[in-house]
């Protein structure tokens, strides 16, 4: 019983870590590649163009 609960929390902790990492990755890509505030757009301008993000 205890072992079963432990393995279940083990699995859900793994999936939570994977989901959190994917969320961080998506947040970084959105911030660096897509957010259109002027400061961010100007700073990231050339790299956005070079990587093919829709820019203007």
């Amino acid at each position: 019983m205890t072992a079963q609960i432990q393995s279940r929390t083990g699995i859900s902790a793994k999936l939570a870590a994977i989901a959190l990492s994917a969320f961080i990755g998506l947040a970084i890509v959105t911030l660096a590649g897509h957010v259109q505030t002027a400061a961010l757009h100007d700073a990231a301008h050339d790299s956005r163009h070079a990587m093919g993000f829709p820019c203007h």
């Binding site: 994977i18 990492s21 994917a22 259109q36 050339d46 790299s47 093919g52």
Partner: protein
């Protein structure tokens, strides 16, 4: 688990991002700066004035390295690849959790698949743009970009891991759908840069992307396995 993903993604993403940034500075940035001369009107490829045409002996020189501007580009390219790395390593972790073995050599396939999802597939509808290109509203294009990346990534995952023909059919649909729907396009074309530069820019952007993503895949798999061995060793000592 999270620290293993974190460390692998930071190392692989930052390293691959730095190399991507260098490749972009050498191969992509000069084309972009050349196009900006047409955008600003310093060069004009219409008409008979050969000096203002800017193909061979350009009337206006292409600017060299600008430390602030290029520094920001390096920073943001490295940051973007770190984001890509988090997504890629998370996917590797999920695959390994489901019983698929990751090897460094397979990392190359993971990297190329990432390139297809994040750069090649969006480029089929919305090719990498020179500054000043005619384009539709930014909002709908960004939505199409996210939809295309998501559908392509899911489609490729099914191609790699699905075991039934029905799911393989779903994979084909996911890969095709963004292109059958089509990216938003502008009502008229008015870009000032020559098409020769635009096609060179798109090809260079994709070429450097493929190189950097291949490296990202190899590095992500390498660090993922190395971190796995390290944490396993620590667990044994404890």
């Amino acid at each position: 688990m999270f620290s293993r993903i974190l460390v692998s993604a930071l190392f692989a993403g930052f390293l691959a991002g730095l190399i991507a940034a260098l490749l972009q500075l050498v191969f992509v940035q000069p084309v972009l700066l050349h196009a900006e001369l047409y955008e600003s009107g310093a060069l004009n490829h219409f008409g008979d004035d050969a000096a203002a045409n800017g193909a061979g002996g350009a009337a206006a020189a292409i600017p060299g390295v600008d430390l602030e501007r290029d520094g920001l580009s390096v920073l943001f390219t490295a940051l973007t690849y770190t984001g890509f790395a988090f997504l890629l390593v998370a996917a590797m972790a999920l695959a390994e959790d489901r019983g698929f073995r990751i090897t460094v050599r397979q990392g190359l396939v993971w990297g190329v698949a990432g390139f297809v999802a994040f750069q090649l597939a969006p480029a089929l509808g919305a090719p990498p743009e020179l500054p000043g290109s005619a384009a539709a509203e930014i909002g709908p294009r960004q939505i199409w970009w996210f939809g295309t990346v998501g559908a392509t990534a899911a489609g490729l995952a099914l191609v790699a891991f699905a075991r039934s023909w029905a799911l393989r059919g779903v994979a084909a649909l996911l890969l095709l759908a963004p292109h059958l729907i089509g990216a938003p396009h502008p009502d008229e074309f008015f870009g000032p840069a020559p098409p020769e530069l635009a096609s060179l820019f798109a090809a260079r952007s994709l070429g450097t992307g493929l190189a950097a993503w291949s490296l990202l895949g190899l590095l992500a798999a390498y660090f993922w396995l190395r971190e796995g061995k390290r944490t396993e060793g620590m667990a044994r000592v404890v």
